[in-house]
């Protein structure tokens, strides 16, 4: 019996492709089969399986956003200000993060290009170099804070910093070099699950839930506080919620995963789910320290060591504090994995290198090395005795405060470009929300700058 239905030999077709395209096509073929199976025999479990196959970039970027620096920032925020102001503020950060990151999903799915490539291609080499330089510098400095988190957390278990820094780097390099995209993403997601440890810890600490609820209904700026210091904490929390590397990471991840416009809806759900998880963990941290560290004499100046020292005497005890330390290690590790990938992708796009986690190391050494060298440098810096880590931490915040409005502006220009986005351009409400976020960022940074120059003005 003859037939006119076209066929294609799967093995031969895939074998003819370069490595990165072959793996990506194989992944997409699997998604296609899951979609067809769902259409023919719809079921909840098939829908769930398809969803879990397609998610990844959104959850990863949001969980990695609760990095070591973020965990420390949230813990210090709770210790300094209690529960009052910041829990509603963190709730507000959830939709803010979603609005910003959702745009990268659409941009990546529609264009099939990463963020660095789009900036370079649409706005020229000057802004391309500016963005790349800022991203690489900010990423390396941020990676220093991640390795601080890893070494501080592992020190609780008696592991010397040199071993924890080397081990952390080995893990980041290993998953990046020897796993292809799909398995790298799945491995990273499993590591990201560890970020949720702060939630049961917060529950086990029996925070004052009534106070948490009251904070929502009675939101006010704490009275009698130093404006400069308060603005600094606001900016630190804002900066740890939306960071430039997140824009580059999620868009490139969407591209490397092979997501298309058909997957935008799931990409949005992925991002929404991730931002909710991020908010829940952040609130858990503030509730934990806001209950058991806030009010302790000198708590406003506590570093993470003294915060953990105070938590030992809370209901979570030494076991819970050890889990807190493990959470800190995980936060540093997952962020290091994501940030390293974002650097590699950005450099690869800017310099037009073969750039995909699907590529074996020997085929894309410059791509992999561009990210890993920065990570190695960060791991080494942490081990230098008397390295000015506080200064480096401050510098990353300063770089981000300069770079973030620029990065957001490029994102908005691209998302409003019909030549690039076609029918997927920003809708009016998306523009209103995004421009409002940019405006707040600029004002907050400006005010912060004024308090730096004129510290006695407020």
């Amino acid at each position: 019996m003859t037939t006119n239905i076209p066929t294609k030999n799967i093995t031969d077709t895939l074998a003819a492709l370069p490595d990165d395209q072959r793996y990506r096509a194989a992944d997409r073929w699997r998604v296609h089969q899951l979609r067809e199976a769902l259409i023919q025999h719809p079921s909840f479990w098939k829908r769930l399986w398809l969803f879990f196959t397609l998610v990844g970039p959104g959850i990863l970027v949001m969980i990695a956003d609760n990095d070591a620096g973020g965990v420390i920032t949230y813990a210090q925020t709770g210790a300094t200000y209690g529960i009052g102001f910041f829990i509603p503020f963190l709730l507000l950060m959830v939709p803010v993060a979603y609005v910003v990151q959702e745009m990268t999903v659409r941009l990546g799915a529609v264009t099939g290009r990463g963020h660095a490539e789009m900036i370079w291609g649409r706005y020229g080499a000057f802004w391309g170099v500016f963005s790349l330089f800022d991203l690489v510098v900010a990423n390396i400095l941020t990676l220093v804070t991640e390795f601080i988190g890893v070494t501080v957390g592992m020190k609780v278990f008696g592991v010397p910093p040199i071993w924890s820094a080397m081990g952390g780097f080995a893990m980041v390099a290993g998953v990046l070099l020897f796993l292809r995209y799909h398995t790298w993403e799945r491995a990273a997601l499993w590591i990201a699950v560890g970020n949720l440890v702060f939630v049961p810890l917060a529950i086990a600490a029996h925070p004052h839930w009534g106070q948490v609820a009251a904070a929502l209904g009675n939101w006010h700026i704490p009275a009698g506080i130093a404006v400069g210091g308060f603005l600094y904490v606001i900016l630190a929390n804002l900066g740890t919620t939306i960071a430039p590397w997140m824009l580059f990471f999620q868009q490139s991840s969407v591209v490397d995963k092979g997501l298309t416009v058909r997957d935008i809806r799931v990409g949005q759900m992925d991002t929404a789910f991730g931002s909710i998880l991020m908010g829940v963990v952040a609130i858990a941290l503030v509730a934990l320290t806001g209950t058991w560290v806030y009010g302790t004499p000198g708590a406003a100046d506590f570093g993470v060591h003294r915060i953990m020292g105070a938590l030992v005497h809370s209901p979570i005890g030494s076991v819970g504090t050890a889990l807190f330390a493990l959470g800190l290690v995980e936060a540093g590790l997952i962020a290091a994995i994501a940030i390293t990938a974002s650097t590699s992708w950005a450099v690869g796009e800017a310099l037009n290198l073969p750039r995909s986690i699907n590529l074996p190391p020997q085929r894309a050494l410059p791509f992999y090395l561009s990210g890993l060298l920065g990570t190695a440098l960060a791991a080494v810096v942490v081990l230098i005795p008397h390295a000015p880590l506080g200064f480096l931490n401050l510098t990353v915040q300063v770089v981000a405060s300069i770079f973030m409005p620029a990065a957001m502006l490029f994102l908005l220009m691209l998302l409003n470009d019909p030549e690039v986005m076609g029918v997927y351009v920003n809708r009016p409400w998306q523009n209103m929300a995004a421009f409002a976020i940019v405006a707040v960022l600029i004002v907050a940074n400006g005010l912060y700058g004024v308090t730096v120059v004129f510290p006695h003005l407020f």
Binding site: N9, H32, G449
Partner: protein
């Protein structure tokens, strides 16, 4: 013989499905990326960005020179 025919039928079905998939997704050929026309609000946005960066760099330099945060 029946089992052989069934296997061949399934293989053919899969090949047909793959052809549909390949036609729909396949290898993505991206159009060349052209420079964006910088006009209207985009031009103002770039000038604003330049001004913002200069101001922030000055403020940050002063801040670091004073040694405060």
């Amino acid at each position: 013989m029946n089992r052989f025919n069934e296997t061949e039928r399934l293989q053919r079905q899969e090949a047909e499905a793959f052809a549909v998939f390949w036609d729909r997704e396949g290898v993505r050929d991206l159009p060349p990326l052209a420079r964006a026309p910088v006009q209207g609000w985009v031009r103002w946005a770039f000038w604003g960005l330049r001004a913002y960066i200069v101001v922030m760099l000055v403020l940050v330099s002063i801040g670091f020179a004073h040694g405060v945060h």
